[in-house]
């Protein structure tokens, strides 16, 4: 436990000493803020138009749950932005330790590989949470200005989904970071791998019913849709947690293997 905390503490210090971290935070906030504003204004306009139409043609305005629609679309967009951010968060985790030879310090210290990997994973998750935190402000405004007050369930499930999706992608990114000594190469491969996940998701939507069902299970982005709709499905939870476990397990094996190779 003490070792784990030491690793997390050190990783956090390294994260926030790097200009890359602030770049990632800034870009994420700018882009997510822009989309939030955009989505919100689109749906407000649409609901107003519907209200006007209803008045002209008589009859009550059809119910339109603006906050729910905004949340759904917002979480969908954020889950895509994350694909671009995760490679930046994970690229250095092991690649940079190898480049600066600090890996020799870590692996000759009385630390288990498990403590090292879990520490790095939790630190990356910590950074990820710091990145998401400011977006809570958007939700506060949406809540305060919605009438009737919006339901909080989908917001919570949406954030839970983002955390699970983030954890899955981060564990994959950390594994890829063990494969090379160069951060840039790690970031590119991670980005490529995440794009492939995205493509799987897209092709699932276009494919025939059977393929669609199979790809739907595999695609971790697909499972995210449920969360943004406010549905917490236990099968999705299992998929995400298995993905995280797989990523960290591969990381473990990878470290073992380069001890034998180098």
């Amino acid at each position: 436990m003490r070792n784990l905390l030491a690793v997390i503490d050190k990783e956090m210090k390294i994260y926030f000493a790097s200009p890359v971290a602030y770049g990632v935070l800034t870009v994420f906030l700018l882009v997510s803020g822009y989309f939030f504003y955009n989505i919100l204004s689109v749906f407000i306009q649409r609901s107003m138009m519907m209200a006007v139409q209803a008045q002209q043609f008589g009859g009550g305005a059809p119910a339109m749950d603006v906050p729910a629609l905004v949340e759904r679309n917002f979480f969908g967009i954020v889950s895509t932005i994350i694909l671009f951010m995760v490679p930046m968060i994970t690229m250095a985790t092991f690649a940079d330790e190898r480049r600066r030879a600090t890996i020799e310090l870590l692996l000759t210290s009385p630390l288990t590989h498990f403590q090292l990997i879990l520490g790095k994973f939790l630190a990356a998750m910590g950074f990820f949470v710091v990145m998401l935190l400011p977006t809570l402000v958007y939700q506060v405004f949406l809540y305060l200005y919605s009438s009737p007050r919006m339901a909080l369930g989908p917001v919570l499930s949406g954030y839970l989904g983002l955390l699970l999706l983030g954890a899955a992608l981060i564990s994959l990114g950390i594994f890829i970071s063990t494969l090379t000594e160069s951060q840039m190469v790690a970031a590119s491969i991670t980005f490529g791998a995440l794009l492939i996940l995205w493509v799987i998701d897209l092709s699932a939507q276009a494919a025939g019913p059977l393929v669609q069902e199979i790809l739907g299970y595999v695609s971790i982005l697909n499972h995210f849709d449920d969360f943004s709709k406010g549905v917490v499905d236990s099968s999705s939870l299992v998929v995400y947690l298995s993905f995280v476990f797989l990523g960290l397990f591969l990381t473990y094996r990878s470290i073992e293997s380069w001890r034998w190779r180098t």
Partner: protein, 316 residues
């Protein structure tokens, strides 16, 4: 303290370390000497549990490096060839982190931090970022890192490489001052370093040990014969005749010195008997002036070249 028994490390067909065996006693400084690529770093990495060996065993403080890696890691301080530093951390932050992962108890950390900073003389630099330090200071922080948990065994891979002469001198003195309390293995390809700091030398070439001994013995053994340098004034022919009469003198090479009748002589004698006294008396009794008289020692440098090149010839 350290027992290495027929240690072998293979990379594919290449044997980086080939049946290396040696022992290090408690409190001893052992020098690991060899050209670049001889297998020094690989051996050290096996001892520090960074790499597993292909064959053979190594024990540190009674613990096997493979079976009981955690116990070994607790007892070893390791300075790799490139000091393992995080540039964006402060010296205190970095050493604090190392203290934590090396298992220094929380209540001792502050004291240990202060102690190692004094030992390597970086007291005033605790708040500085490591990236702003000079190379010499980075090396010292690297040493501090290896010392922080007060390990029984120190393994230092080329600790003076890339330092300026003053820094080299300081680091060597520091290492010397650490022996006794610590058992030290130090690798280098610089020969004077070994004769200055180490009590025993392991010379390694192409992954094999070619010699293990004290620096003094190594230079003596490799000589096979003792050499004496002498300057004397007088007839060269007469001096040579007298020298050859002495039992134990194997050969004499003379060279005129240019002033009057003085010459210099390089005398090879048998190692078994000390003939220096007899030579000196014979020269004086013959009525010559003895200007200079001293034993010649092969430098470790020459021994090293002899040993490692012999090895090459043998392997061809």
């Amino acid at each position: 303290m350290i027992e290495v028994d027929r240690l072998t490390k293979r990379y594919g067909n290449l044997k980086a370390v080939d049946e290396v065996s040696f022992q290090v006693e408690k409190g001893e400084i052992l020098g690991f000497l060899g050209p670049n690529g001889a297998g020094k770093t690989t051996t050290m990495r096996i001892l520090t549990c960074f790499l597993p060996a292909t064959e053979g065993t190594a024990r540190v403080a009674g613990y096997d490096v493979f079976e009981n890696a955690m116990e070994v890691k607790r007892r070893i301080g390791y300075l790799p060839e490139h000091p393992p530093l995080y540039d964006e951390m402060t010296v205190d932050g970095y050493l604090g982190f190392v203290a934590r992962i090396k298992g220094v108890a929380p209540e001792d950390r502050k004291r240990r931090l202060q102690e190692v900073k004094e030992t390597v003389r970086i007291e005033g630099y605790g708040k500085k970022l490591i990236k702003h330090l000079s190379k010499g200071f980075k090396q010292r922080v690297g040493l501090a890192q290896a010392l922080i948990h007060d390990p029984e065994v120190l393994i230092l891979d080329e600790p003076t490489v890339g330092l300026d002469p003053n820094q080299i001198k300081e680091v060597r003195e520091l290492i010397k001052s650490l022996s006794g309390n610590h058992t030290i293995i130090l690798s280098t390809h610089i020969l004077p370093e070994v004769s200055m700091t180490c009590q025993r030398v392991v010379i390694i070439s192409d992954g094999k040990i070619v010699a293990v001994d004290t620096p003094e013995n190594l230079t003596r053994q490799q000589q096979g014969a003792a050499h004496i340098y002498m300057e004397a004034r007088g007839s060269d022919v007469e001096v040579q005749r007298r020298l050859h009469q002495i039992e134990g003198v194997l050969s004499v090479v003379s060279r005129p010195l240019g002033e009057g009748e003085a010459s210099s002589y390089r005398i090879e004698t048998e190692l078994k008997q000390d003939v220096r006294g007899r030579i000196a008396r014979s020269i004086i009794e013959g009525g010559f002036e003895l200007l200079e008289f001293r034993s010649l020692q092969l430098s470790l440098e020459e021994v090293f070249t002899q040993l490692t090149t012999q090895e090459e010839v043998r392997s061809q």
